[in-house]
């Protein structure tokens, strides 16, 4: 009886792992889309609102769902609070802390880190150029993510189950 229970547990664990991976793949394009929307919002804040960076980031963070929003909020708070570190350092740190909560990969991380180098350090036309560039690159990443998702999502789901079954049989 215990053996059966153990087998069931293992099977459950592996299927859940499979579903989690599948979920990650499913969420990735969505989160990149959110990232793009929030950068566009930041762009409007900068070009029309001329709002300083900390407030602009805060506004963007509010209008963005949690995992990605946390990145902006984290940066905004750090910017507002401490006065002796430059935007890049704070931006890199925010990315570093928040990235594991999101399901996005290295590609987007580099793009956003690149954006951090010039954020708030030049006039609005230059800012817009950088932001537009970032958005374009993210667009490319999103298409890639979409494709990955189609392929890997179902794979991971079934793979999880099979792995579980295999292990159960092996140990039986």
């Amino acid at each position: 009886m215990l053996k059966l229970l153990g087998a069931m547990l293992i099977l459950l664990a592996f299927t859940l792992f499979g579903f989690y991976q599948a979920h990650q793949f499913a969420r990735r394009p969505k989160q990149i889309a959110e990232l793009i929307r929030s950068i566009q919002r930041l762009e409007t804040e900068i070009t029309y609102g001329f709002t300083p960076l900390p407030q602009a980031l805060l506004k963007v963070a509010e209008a963005c769902p949690p995992p990605v929003g946390a990145l902006f909020r984290n940066a905004a708070e750090a910017l507002a609070k401490d006065g002796c570190r430059s935007v890049q350092q704070i931006w890199q740190e925010a990315i570093h802390n928040q990235w594991q909560h999101t399901s996005m990969k290295k590609g987007e991380q580099d793009i956003i880190r690149q954006l951090g180098f010039t954020l708030g350090l030049s006039d609005s036309t230059d800012q817009v150029k950088h932001l537009r560039l970032a958005i374009q690159q993210l667009q490319g990443e999103m298409d890639g993510a979409q494709e990955d998702r189609k392929r890997y999502e179902s794979m991971w789901r079934s793979l999880g189950l099979l792995m579980g079954a295999l292990l159960v049989i092996l140990m039986y």
């Binding site: 392929r151 794979m155 079934s158 793979l159 099979l162 079954a165 049989i169 039986y172």
Partner: protein
């Protein structure tokens, strides 16, 4: 006796699952991963069969008084 029956089911199960994993991975385009899985599965099963074969030959040696 029943231990062997289990083993037979085990081998059959492994075979089936390995086959399914192989097909899934192949669909996803991860050919090499699929082959790897198959080889590993095969090795595991082979290991079991070899064990049994070894015991078989030992038995025959003792029975037919091979010295």
């Amino acid at each position: 006796m029943n231990v062997d029956v289990n083993a037979i089911f085990q081998i059959a199960g492994i075979g089936i699952i390995i086959a399914m994993i192989h097909t899934v991975l192949k669909q996803m385009g991860k050919e090499d991963m699929a082959h790897w899985v198959t080889v590993i599965g095969f090795v595991v099963v082979l290991f079991m069969v070899v064990n049994l074969l070894d015991s078989l030959f030992k038995e025959i040696k003792t029975i037919f008084l091979f010295q």
